[in-house]
């Protein structure tokens, strides 16, 4: 009997038991569907995180006033916090970083606090970053409306502020925020610019940040210890060498526990290794559900073999060989899992689309994961179909014909 005939016979048998075939396929549908969907969500999240980290600019380096180790395998280690007395950074440290790079333009302090901001009767809890005039240059940011503050404004400690889009929307509700005033800890700050929209990184809203001159921040927050120093490498190719220069320079003043320099590629590598693990984990969990689906197929096929003992007897009586019966039941199992797999793929693609349009997060359905899930479902069909098919093919024709 040819393989095509076997497939036709299998399809007829499956059609004769529509409800049961559907229920059997459900396990594979859910298994394949969830593998594709979850892995797509995982790799979508990865792409998004990668994109937003790359958005920091590949020249960016960050110096924090504590020890931080970003590596998988060991624990993520953070000793100390920028808010405690252990923070030894001062405005002088910023100058040192600038000197290491050969230009004060390339280093900028960040004094970060989360505070209430008031405009009229409206209140907003956001992040204020006291920083240098050159911060937007270092961080590759830009103002869509208005401008960033100048060197003169920073040096004279002017109360001016550049706000994010979320802050503008929350405090001014559609009105033009430029030249309006925002009250922070009893001081009035004049809005001079709005930062271009950056969007969300997973759960963190980049547009809820605002910038004020570092000098103003020191007086408002009452601390001259920068929570971070941002620095820009002289060129993309010199990141490694510049990072070494800064480390060497700071090592003269600080112990290794008192500062850490992180480059953009450090963060990228770390984030990617985390999201990769996340993707594997999701795929693994979904793989288990496909396995359960496969066991479902085997279970139903075994029941089916018992139920169709007489059919096997009849087929053997008219000349079916062991191989023919084996093939028939095996093809049935594979067809079940393949049809289930196909429906699963379609549901996953539909689900990914729905997810993207509802949650506004990326889901990357790649061709390789679809092929992999499909192949996997076929293997499940063969693996769990072989045993029942062998049972069927070994049936004795006489006893099968007598079977009621």
């Amino acid at each position: 009997m040819k393989i095509f005939e076997s497939i036709m016979t299998a399809l007829l048998a499956l059609r004769a038991n529509k409800l049961r075939s559907m229920l059997t396929m459900l396990g594979v549908i859910i298994g394949v569907g969830s593998i594709i969907l979850l892995v797509s969500l995982g790799s979508g999240a990865r792409a998004e995180i990668t994109q937003s980290i790359q958005g920091l600019g590949s020249n960016l380096m960050m110096v924090v006033p504590f020890k931080l180790e970003l590596s998988m395998g060991t624990n993520i280690m953070q000793q100390g916090s920028p808010m405690t007395a252990l923070n030894k950074f001062t405005p002088h440290t910023v100058e040192d970083v600038g000197k290491a790079l050969g230009s004060s333009e390339l280093a900028s302090p960040e004094y970060q606090r989360s505070v209430y901001m008031n405009a009229g009767n409206t209140r907003f809890f956001g992040t204020i970053i006291g920083t240098g005039y050159n911060e937007f240059g270092v961080r590759a940011l830009a103002a869509t409306t208005g401008r960033f503050f100048t060197k003169a404004e920073e040096e004279s400690g002017r109360h001016v502020i550049v706000i994010g889009q979320t802050v503008a929307d929350a405090l001014f509700k559609g009105q033009d925020p430029i030249d309006q005033f925002i009250n922070i800890k009893g001081r009035k700050f004049k809005v001079i610019g709005i930062q271009e929209k950056k969007g969300r990184t997973m759960t963190f809203d980049m547009d809820a940040q605002s910038w004020i001159p570092s000098t103003a921040a020191i007086s408002v927050f009452g601390s001259d210890h920068p929570t971070m120093i941002t620095a820009k490498a002289t060129s993309t190719n010199s990141v490694t060498i510049d990072a070494k220069r800064i480390r060497d320079k700071l090592a003269k003043t600080f112990s290794t526990d008192e500062f850490t320099l992180i480059t953009q590629s450090d963060i990228l590598g770390f984030a990617q290794s985390i999201t990769r693990i996340l993707t594997y984990l999701l795929g693994g969990v979904a793989g288990i559900s496909l396995l359960v689906g496969g066991i479902g197929i085997m279970n139903i096929m075994l029941v089916s073999v018992t139920e169709r003992t007489r059919e096997v007897g009849i087929r053997k009586a008219v000349g079916a060989k062991t191989r023919d019966i084996l093939l028939q039941f095996l093809v049935e199992a594979v067809v079940l899992s393949l049809v289930g797999g196909t429906i699963g793929v379609m549901i996953a693609i539909g689900g990914a689309w729905l997810y993207q349009s509802l949650v506004h997060l990326k889901a990357q359905v790649t061709i390789w994961i679809v092929l992999l899930a499909f192949l996997f479902s076929m293997l499940v069909g063969v693996f769990f179909g072989v045993y029942p098919a062998r049972q069927a093919s070994k049936l004795d024709p006489i006893e099968s014909l007598r079977y009621e």
Binding site: M1, K2, E5, T9, L12, A16, R310, E311, G313, I314, R315, K316, A317, V318, G319, A320, K321, T322, R323, D324, P397, I398, L401
Partner: protein
């Protein structure tokens, strides 16, 4: 006439738990080509076992069997399947059609396993069903057919590969008298065309349609007789012709 089936000293033992049941205790029998042989006996006499072994559905415990010139007492299951497929057609008491499968597909089944192409299968199965008067019921399922009609589908299936031998196990056992006569008529016609027929029955009346009767008791042949006055199923031609009328007159309820 040459013996198309030659059984020599066939023994079949079944093991049931600790006890061994001797279903056949050394049966030797020769069926001539073109003969209509009837095997009779009470239930448990071994007549069905003998037919199953001669029909290559089962292996004998010992003894030799030759079917159409091939010694098949020692061959494997797959070779037996081929012999069943090409040389023997079966007609069972319980029809043994595939449920939820059309008459046409049922008849095509032996051709499927013989490797015949779909178009050829369809053509020959249609023709075979026409020959047994069921040309108007090709797409019907067994559950939609009467007992007599189901048995005619089974006969069409048995004949589809043009086998030289037909084995019939109580072919009229589940049928009413009229349908039984129809089936016997068809079998007689096949025998007249030269097909060797082996039939198992326990009814004397049915047995007398054959040329020769072999009687089995406790797994051994205890008597043989040639039928001198062969019974002929009469008037059936008209009955079958009547059923071929457009309305399917009466549809023959089994």
């Amino acid at each position: 006439m040459a013996g198309i089936i030659k059984a020599d000293n066939l023994v079949k033992n079944y093991t049931m738990g600790d006890t061994v049941v001797e279903a056949l205790r050394g049966v030797s029998l020769e069926v001539n080509a073109g003969e209509f042989l009837v095997i009779m006996g009470a239930s448990g006499s071994g007549k069905s076992t003998l037919m199953h072994i001669m029909g290559c559905l089962d292996h004998p415990t010992s003894g030799t069997l030759t079917v159409d010139g091939d010694d098949i007492s020692k061959v494997n299951d797959n070779r037996l399947a081929e012999v069943r497929n090409r040389k023997i057609g079966f007609v069972f008491q319980k029809f043994n059609l595939l449920a939820r499968t059309s008459a046409l597909t049922n008849v095509e089944l032996p051709l499927l396993y013989a490797g015949t192409g779909a178009i050829e299968r369809h053509r020959r199965a249609t023709e075979a069903l026409n020959n047994v008067g069921l040309g108007h019921r090709l797409r019907h399922y067994p559950s939609q057919l009467s007992g007599g009609e189901q048995q005619r589908v089974a006969i069409a299936r048995a004949l589809i590969n043009n086998p030289p031998i037909i084995m019939a196990d109580e072919p009229t056992g589940n049928l009413d008298t009229r349908s039984g006569i129809e089936i016997m008529t068809i079998l007689q016609e096949l025998n007249d065309k030269g097909i060797t027929l082996v039939m198992v029955t326990h009814e004397r009346e049915v047995a007398e349609h054959g040329d020769r009767i072999v009687v089995l008791r406790d797994g051994a042949i205890v008597g043989q007789e040639a039928v001198t006055e062969k019974r002929v199923a009469t008037n059936v031609r008209t009955i079958i012709e009547g059923e071929r009328m457009p309305s399917g007159a009466g549809g023959s309820q089994a």
